[in-house]
Symmetry: none
Subunit: 403 residues, 2 copies
């Protein structure tokens, strides 16, 4: 949906509140022929009762057949077409580990690697060294790298992967990646691909040189490679574009990060679902829009643990009365993508969605599940980024277009 269409229609008189409850990886598949999906198998009396008064459907985060990663999936739920709004990978790395990236920072993904005496790469992942090794080496780099005029931060992501952030003035990210992609070659030079990026490229080259010096006696991780140079994007911010004071309530950094990327506030991570609902209650009067993220439905999907994914859905259902007691004007219950236990990974399958409001047109469907949602008024494969305009409309927050 175009912000150009929506933003001029905002009605700032409405103070009605919107809750977006995302069960990560909610969509599923039957494990056996003729069986039920995870959501269909779950006992969800509260969601089923709400479904009767709601508009149902299934959304696609990106495009038909495209499996969304967590970043694009959430951007789409937030109203950003993820094909139009793509985030650089360096920035995604920063979001994933809760690094507080600033407007002018340059971020990149790093690999620890192994080079031979001539500097040729002999292992692009340094024997997949563990996070504790990379953490120690990052501390070393943070201590010893010294480049006048900029600050350098490195931080472990996972195993041999780390984040590099260069903080300074006038840095632009159009820089060649240094990973040669094959062993037996030296790391490539981080050349500037345009004039604006020359300053940053020189700094990155100097970082690589010093890192090689500092790590040269380590083993097996004695060098670094960099890719995915990126900066925070210059997008319309969610609170301005939609006229909503907005907060993200989540247990994991990735989701708080994506929400912060579009300008939502995000208090420190909650430790449990109950604590997430506590926070929803606590901040209820201070915000218009509440993004509440539930992680473990996805984790059990990735594990292929059907029984536990069902149980997580049932736990969320049991929390629903506390959310409804706050009397939100609009409540959307959905996932960011499907993670069928059968596949043990994210998938392209459309994601069950329930939109409740006093102004929605109920479909008269008595269950919240994949097949039930197919019969709903939102349609079986609607773009996830249409949910936000619909939420605004249902909250009385959009004027009509034209006389």
């Amino acid at each position: 949906m175009d912000f150009d269409i929506i933003t001029p229609l905002l009605n700032n008189q409405s103070d009605e509140k919107i809750v977006l409850l995302v069960m990560d990886g909610l969509g599923g598949l039957p494990m056996n022929k003729g069986g039920l999906t995870e959501l269909e198998a779950a006992s969800t009396p509260n969601m089923d009762a709400l479904a009767k008064e709601s508009a149902l459907g299934l959304h696609q985060g990106i495009r038909t057949g495209i499996t969304p990663g967590s970043g694009p999936a959430h951007l789409s739920l937030f109203g950003y077409d993820p094909i139009k709004y793509q985030v650089g990978r360096g920035v995604l790395s920063a979001l994933g580990i809760d690094f507080d990236l600033q407007k002018q920072d340059l971020a990149a993904r790093g690999n620890m690697c192994t080079v031979d005496a001539e500097g040729r790469v002999i292992d692009r992942r340094a024997g997949r060294v563990g996070s504790e090794v990379t953490e120690r080496l990052c501390a070393l780099l943070n201590e010893k790298v010294n480049i006048p005029g900029v600050q350098i931060f490195t931080q472990v992501v996972k195993e041999y992967r780390f984040l590099l952030v260069v903080r300074g003035e006038g840095l632009k990210p159009n820089i060649e990646e240094t990973d040669p992609q094959v062993v037996g070659e030296k790391p490539l030079v981080a050349r500037a691909l345009d004039k604006e990026s020359e300053k940053a490229a020189e700094i990155v080259q100097e970082f690589v040189r010093q890192a090689g010096e500092i790590l040269k006696d380590e083993s097996p991780a004695n060098m670094v490679m960099l890719r995915g140079f990126a900066q925070l994007p210059d997008w319309p911010m969610f609170p301005d574009a939609f006229g909503l004071k907005s907060i993200a309530i989540a247990m994991y950094p990735m989701y708080r990060g994506v929400a912060k990327l579009v300008g939502m506030d995000s208090p420190p991570a909650a430790a449990s679902y109950e604590e997430e609902i506590d926070m929803l209650e606590k901040y209820w009067n201070d915000y218009d829009f509440f993004f509440v993220h539930i992680k473990k439905t996805d984790s059990y999907g990735e594990d292929g643990n059907f029984e536990n994914k069902v149980k997580e859905i049932e736990k969320v259902d049991a929390l629903l009365p506390r959310i409804l007691a706050l009397d939100p004007s609009v409540l959307i219950i959905t996932g960011d993508h499907s993670t069928p236990c059968l596949m043990k990974r994210h998938s392209w399958h459309p994601v069950p969605t329930l939109l409740y409001s006093k102004r929605c047109r109920p479909d008269g469907i008595e269950q919240f599940g994949e097949r039930a949602c197919l019969r709903g008024g939102l349609g079986g494969r609607f773009p996830a980024y249409e949910l936000m305009p619909l939420a605004l409309a249902n909250a009385g927050r959009l004027e009509k277009l034209g006389a």
Copy 2:
């Protein structure tokens, strides 16, 4: 839908006729939990019988969540994506009062206002003077304003609002609005915003000057303010684009106006539904496409009068045999947007649509209503501007694309 795709495929051999019957604001909502919508509650034996042989669905005039005004809603039904085809507000004003706007005319919206002795605006709406006052003042302006080389027309719209039309050669509408938007300031100068609009801007400035002179002893309306300068758009015309000799049959000027905007003929307004069907019969042999507009379904929606909206739908149902007796090749029954009695205003909810033709693929649904249409082959949220290509196809008026 793109005219570039449709127009080259036109088959001019077909003389089959298409009727588009629009019940304004048709779509609705239940007034109570578990209840029926207006259309579902109405007893519509003729439409229900037709539904069995028809393709059903629900359309959206603009985009998901966007509530259409009457102008964009009808343009979409006529095959024009209303985001791509936007009409200037001055032109909309002219349409709304049945002013016969010509190709080169410059139109603007006017307000009567009150200025103090120094010319500063002290009331932007002149105490909301009634239509009869504005009518008298417009007559005065029409009589006394004298600008060589152009004709000036003013006409009351409603209360303090009026239409200004400048008729002459070489006028362009890119002119600054004169309403300062706050009291205590003088009206702004109608400056040209590009070189082509300089001539028109000078004429408008002279009109404002003379209007100030002519009205200076009136009270409270002693000055005018202008905004929404616009001209008839240079769009593909409906009869050419779709190869259809076309007529609009309606009771209110706004709807005849939008139809004329896209090049349809429009005889004088009918006085009743029966008279509209009389006109349909009268002109049956002279046209290919008939747009028949029913107003009161929307009016009762805006009033929140569920019972009367239901009755209006039933009245239209009772007229259906007269339309079917003409044996149209294609009959579309729909609304331009939803106007749920529950909300007393236009809404974004998709609009029930029935497309009957001998060549349609019947959905086997036995009722014409919101939930029934959800199960139909046209889908639950199809763009209204796809109806015209579908109507042409069903009338045997489109060739295939490619060999």
